[in-house]
């Protein structure tokens, strides 16, 4: 589903990703772990298409298409989603309005009609209840005044309402209390299936106890240093990243 080949990325002329290769096939959940500053968020932004992240070499393929030159909204309409490590506040735009606008924009890009207001409200109600989100939050500006944990839940709400084919979750677990972590994991697990893939970025084994990954990668110095099964996460939990940090 997602194929990244020999990806080199620069920010302001500084190389952050240095030949990263990664493939996430359809239906699989992959986890990426790695020390602070190793380039995990950079990878997620560049896949989502953020300005200022210059791909100097290599390619990103999604669903068989090279998306390297596409705008972020085009990528989203193809079925790509990024759960932000630091969700952004949008004063003045309510969460409900934001969600409806996003859903309809994606539908429009795919040549589909707008969602009916009734269907939208039904969907929103079902998902907010499932994720234990208080309806009051939907009337406030997107993420404005939300606690850290509330912001992360809001990311998962957007994920489940937009129902993408592929989602990158960048430290969606940090900031969540234990109950919220379970709810969020249940939300993700409910979406798992043969058609969908996930790339989960995390620092903690705990999340991977709930969302069982098929494959675990270690990212350090802008490259995938090691790839293994779920046991690799346990190993990292014990030994840390020393081996990879010193590798350079």
């Amino acid at each position: 589903m997602l194929k990244i080949k020999n990806l080199h990325v620069e920010i302001d002329g500084k190389e952050i990703l240095k030949g990263l290769t990664l493939e996430v096939p359809k239906g699989e959940v992959h986890a990426i772990m790695g020390p602070n500053g190793s380039g995990k968020s950079t990878l997620s932004y560049v896949v989502a298409g953020r300005d200022g992240y210059e791909v100097t070499k290599g390619s990103i393929e999604f669903m068989g298409k090279d998306i390297t030159e596409m705008d972020p909204d085009e990528r989203a309409a193809l079925g790509l989603f990024l759960g932000f490590q630091y969700p952004v506040e949008i004063p003045g735009v309510t969460t409900t309005n934001f969600l409806k606008t996003a859903i309809n924009a994606q539908r429009k890009a795919r040549g589909e009609d707008d969602i009916s207001p009734v269907d939208f409200l039904k969907l929103q109600k079902a998902k907010t209840e499932q994720l234990g989100i208080v309806p009051d939050m939907l009337k406030r500006g997107v993420n404005v005044g939300f606690s850290g944990g509330e912001k992360k839940r809001n990311e998962v709400l957007q994920l489940s309402m937009l129902d993408p084919k592929f989602a990158i979750l960048d430290e969606t677990d940090s900031g969540l209390d234990i109950d919220a972590l379970k709810t969020v994991a249940e939300g993700v697990n409910a979406m798992r299936g043969s058609e969908k893939s996930f790339l989960v970025i995390t620092h903690y084994q705990r999340l991977l106890d709930y969302i069982k990954p098929d494959v675990v990668h270690v990212l350090a110095h802008g490259k995938i240093q090691k790839t293994g099964g779920p046991e690799l996460a346990h190993e990292l939990e014990e030994k840390g990243y020393e081996e990879y940090i010193n590798a350079a």
Binding site: R50, P72, F81, E89, I90
Partner: protein, 419 residues
């Protein structure tokens, strides 16, 4: 096509015009050397060579812009047009000329106190040329809650010169009266219009006063508003500015009674070479008054906006709550905002706050929205629209709110390419 001359020239009025003319002859047009005009030059205006014109070409309903509300009162090139206007119940007078012929003493009472004209050259000039204008007069206890549109149409049709129009507007709300009005300024061609607006809010009166300045992009628009706020009266105004190449709006709110409430808000959307200057004074003289100012705008291309807002709290005005905020989004590096919020406080038990921000549109929310599938131009419109909507969110009249919302949407859509 001028209305018949009736009792429009009583001696006191001639004397008033004379005074205006003398003062203006002495002051001339304001220059940036004048602190009040520091950021706005009238050089270009002067070069246009506008001339006084009394001509009103044949205008019929088809020449008028779409009606925005149920009832509409129409002025063309400075004069009331009864033929084009609707009847409104509850009004003692509609135009200054009408009111002059019916109750000259009452007009005199409301018109002679013009303030210190030498500080207000454009008001002096207007005073020299008092002819017609809107005059809405409500007796005590009369309530007009349904909004009325007042259309001021300026045209250059059939006019040989570059015309200059003067309007002298009066709103008089006696004790406990309520009024809801939308003033709509429109026009075609290169013209100048000078409005002076005097508002008297007697005890417990309530005036909701909305303005839509959508003059021709080649026009010059001046408006000087003076508000007399008696005890427990309340005033709410929102001005939406998107027209004229140059506009200047002065608002003086004199809070001469206790416990008054005065909200002066504005939103503006500028492009090309538009210049928009607002100067507001809220002068608290008695206790427990509330005054709030919120101005928000979007500036594109080489536009410039000026916001000079001042809250003056005199010693007796204990318990005053005064606030003023100016926020601007600059869409181009050549656009400029000069915001100067000011507080001058002589009472000790007061709550006052002021602030000003300006800057480009934040990139982070734009990317966040795009990552959810919202195209960049739509994301910009949504962000800018919600930025401006704050100014109108507290308007409780749904009809007015949706008129302003439509103006915002329309401006943003027409800028799709530029955004």
């Amino acid at each position: 096509m001028l209305p018949e001359t009736r009792h429009e020239n009583p001696d006191w009025l001639d004397a008033l015009r004379e005074t205006g003319a003398e003062v203006f002859a002495a002051t001339g047009l304001p220059t940036p050397a004048n602190e009040d005009w520091k950021y706005s030059s009238l050089r270009k205006y002067e070069k246009e060579g506008f001339q006084i014109s009394d001509i009103i070409g044949e205008i019929d309903t088809n020449d008028l812009p779409k009606k925005l509300l149920d009832k509409r009162i129409v002025f063309v090139n400075g004069f009331f047009q009864p033929r084009l206007s609707d009847q409104v119940e509850g009004l003692k007078a509609v135009s200054l000329l009408d009111w002059l012929s019916n109750e000259p003493e009452a007009v005199q009472e409301n018109l002679v106190d013009v303030g210190n004209l030498s500080d207000m050259p454009l008001k002096a000039e207007n005073t020299a040329h008092i002819r017609d204008g809107v005059a809405l007069v409500l007796d005590a206890g009369v309530h007009i809650e349904k909004p009325i549109e007042i259309l001021y149409l300026s045209t250059t049709k059939g006019v040989e010169v570059k015309p200059k129009y003067y309007l002298r507007n009066l709103f008089v709300l006696h004790d406990g009266a309520h009024l809801n009005v939308l003033e709509n300024y429109q026009g075609q061609g290169t013209y100048a219009v000078n409005h002076v607006c005097d508002i008297a809010l007697h005890e417990n009166a309530e005036f909701k006063h909305y303005r839509l300045q959508n003059e021709d992009k080649n026009a010059y628009h001046f408006c000087h508003t003076r508000l007399m706020h008696h005890a427990r009266s309340s005033y709410e105004t929102v001005t939406c500015t998107r027209g004229a190449c140059f506009s200047r709006h002065d608002i003086q709110s004199l809070l001469i009674g206790a416990e008054v409430s005065c909200n002066i808000n504005g939103l503006y959307m500028l492009n090309g070479v538009q210049h928009f200057d607002t100067k507001i004074l809220a002068d608290h003289m008695e206790p427990n008054g509330v005054s709030k100012q919120l101005y928000k705008g979007i500036l594109d291309d080489e536009t410039r906006a000026v916001f000079q807002g001042k809250v003056h709290v005199r010693r007796p005005a204990q318990g005053t709550d005064g606030r003023q905020l100016s926020h601007a989004v600059l869409l181009s590096t050549a656009a400029e905002i000069d915001a100067k919020p000011e507080l001058e406080i002589y009472a000790d038990d007061v709550q006052c706050a002021h602030g000003a921000t300006s800057g480009a549109l934040d990139e982070d929310p734009l990317f966040y929205m795009q990552s959810r599938g919202i195209p960049k131009d739509q994301a910009r419109r949504l962000l800018l629209g919600s930025f401006l909507s704050e100014v109108i969110e507290d308007i409780d009249c749904a009809a007015i709110q949706s008129i302003f919302q439509a103006q915002i949407d329309d401006w943003l859509l027409s800028h799709q390419g530029a955004l």
